[in-house]
Amino acid sequence: MKKYIWILILFLLTSLAYAEDKLSFSGSLKNETSIRIENLNGDLTKEKNIVELAGQYKINGDELVFFTKAKYWYDAAYDARDKLDIAQHYEGHIQRSDWLRDCYLDYTNGPWFLRLGKQQVAWGQADGITILDRVNPVDLREFWLPDMQDIRIPLWMANINYSPKLNSNLQLLFVPDWEQSEAAYLGAPFVFRSFTEFDAFMQLMMRNHFTWDVKLNPVGHQFNNATWGLQWSDRIGDLDYTLNFLYSHYTSARNVISLTGTKYTVNRNFPLYRIYGCSFNKTFTNPGPMQGITLRGDFAYYNDEPTYFGSPTAASTKGYKRWDNKFWLIGIDRNFLTRWTGSFQFSQYILEHAKVGRTAAQETYPMNAYTYGPMDQVENIFSLKLSSHFFNDRLKPEVLWSFTDDNQGRLSPKVNYEITDKLVFSLGVHYFYGNVWDTNGQFRDENQFYTQLKYTF
């Protein structure tokens, strides 16, 4: 794979000599280091070096443009620490075809805009929560901590847009490509509890002479398995809105376990589901008490969403059911005190399940896919982000607090400092708290202090 990157670099550099005005490129070198707070002396959890290179070639002015971006990273922490060794193969360097982050051709002509190739598409207005933003699978090997552009796994697709009138757009997505979402492997800092619990159960049963047959049933790259998406965006007055529809296979595996004699069979499935949704945003521009406030929101109805179920007391899954769940969010943004920006979000994930107390219904309790812990019928999720800037934008502090009503969450303060116009240093902490069966609480022993140094060119 390295050789492809070097070929790409050579291609870009040689092309530059012949087509200075048509070709432009940029890139970055970045180091990310993190240490577990519980043991600052030696618990290195990340020593990642990342190189990124992007190039754009204007084949015919702005009408026809080719764009590509490649990325390679290597995490030395997986070589340096015995504890992480087990995950080295999965976590130590870039996986699969993830190195190619973008590779597409843009065609613009009047009301038409086509983007054909490997890309990512972001829908919705929510920050840090994927309510409508589910076109691309996600890479959660570092949980939800990286930027969303690094979390989304790009796919090959046709992104066709038509604008019938000013400020409106109809977008059709045809995605014949399919990739599985990624999760951290055993031994890595952000391995999900559901994975470790399942592995522990497997090991226990194997010691008792049971055998396991794990079958991965990926979605084949066939026309009838393609993902389809449709988004209509328009403006009424000064309210922007979208209507969305997505027909897709789930990208996170849903396990079905069966036992025959002493043999366990695990089928890892990716069932089909549909999203019907909408989003909006509005800034109050006219004088009045609301002036300066931006309201935004998402709503999604997940039809046949594969949801784990089980007993809330045993905290173990019995499989999944295809339920009709709902997820909505409202966000409020406002600038205040000259240089501060505040952003608050409230969302509810409303899960279809039977009521507590009915014995027969206990088995239909929804389970958290990250932990196999029980979920509430209505999960209330909040986030608050404050950010500012000082010294002519050189110093930018921010703090993000995301939490739920189950007394679990994450607090992430961070400071960026612009050393030069090409070199930025970041310093931050991720502090997790809560019950180990909750999404954030499961990492309460993985609180980390981190630094990042990025050079762009």
Binding site: Q56, D133, L166, K282, T283, N335, D421
Partner: protein, 293 residues
Amino acid sequence: MKKLLVLLAAIVLMANIGLAAELEYFQIYKPKEGMTADEIMRIEYFVKYTLFAHDAHFEGKALFVDKAGSVLEKTTLRERITLGRKSDDIAYKDLVMFTSPQVKGLATLTWTYMNPKRQQDSWLWIPSLRRIRKISAANSDDTFMGSDFTVEDILTRRFDDETYTLIGSENFKGYTCEYDKKTYFKGVPCFVIEAKPIKKPWYYSKRILWVDKDTGGGIYEEMYDPLGRMFKTIFKDYEIINVNGKEYAVQVLLEGKDLRTGHRTVIINSDIKFDGGLSEDLFTERALMQSRW
């Protein structure tokens, strides 16, 4: 009946005064001797926001220089379409794309309304999210892109935000720009105007402006804090660009100095094009969505 006619006549007269005071888009205005401070300042704002042109294209860079001489540079590409459209109240739309490495791809789309009390609408393309975010209008007294200019210095200050007094006329003493060490506008005839903000308390108590009698462009201003101490100076150099026989006065160099910190910002506009026939389709969310970096 007589009273009613007098009242009607007064209303018509006031309406006409109001219309006369509002300058028509796509025209070129120059200040004249005998004009009031208000009339001169309407022209100054007209020139500042290039409302004489249908569209504009600027490529430029901003240099941030601290007291020790350390320099940060950001490059931008800016496009504007002037509409002056009463049906949806839109005065003009701006698209600013950052082209320097660290912020490459970051782009903002801003719609400015004709109603002076109405805030701008802004959308931001955030490369790290690969998404468009509607953003709340920045506070007017916040710094513009980390520069020594405030948001209102560059974008949001309108004619109706201040009251004006004509102090007099004089030949400008000249300004020696720290960026290129050249002395500009020495001996150029100017109107001197005092502008006081309506909003109180505010971060400045008054501005003293020197407005070029030839172009109507504000070439130099001093800003005073609420205690009456000068804390900032802003210098603007103009170039006359001939477009289809019309002479447009355009800002090509701005230097803002914060006298409290010793920090200064230089904005240089180059590759300026007017009336190139930019389509309004370029100033939409979909156009932002097409960002690649």
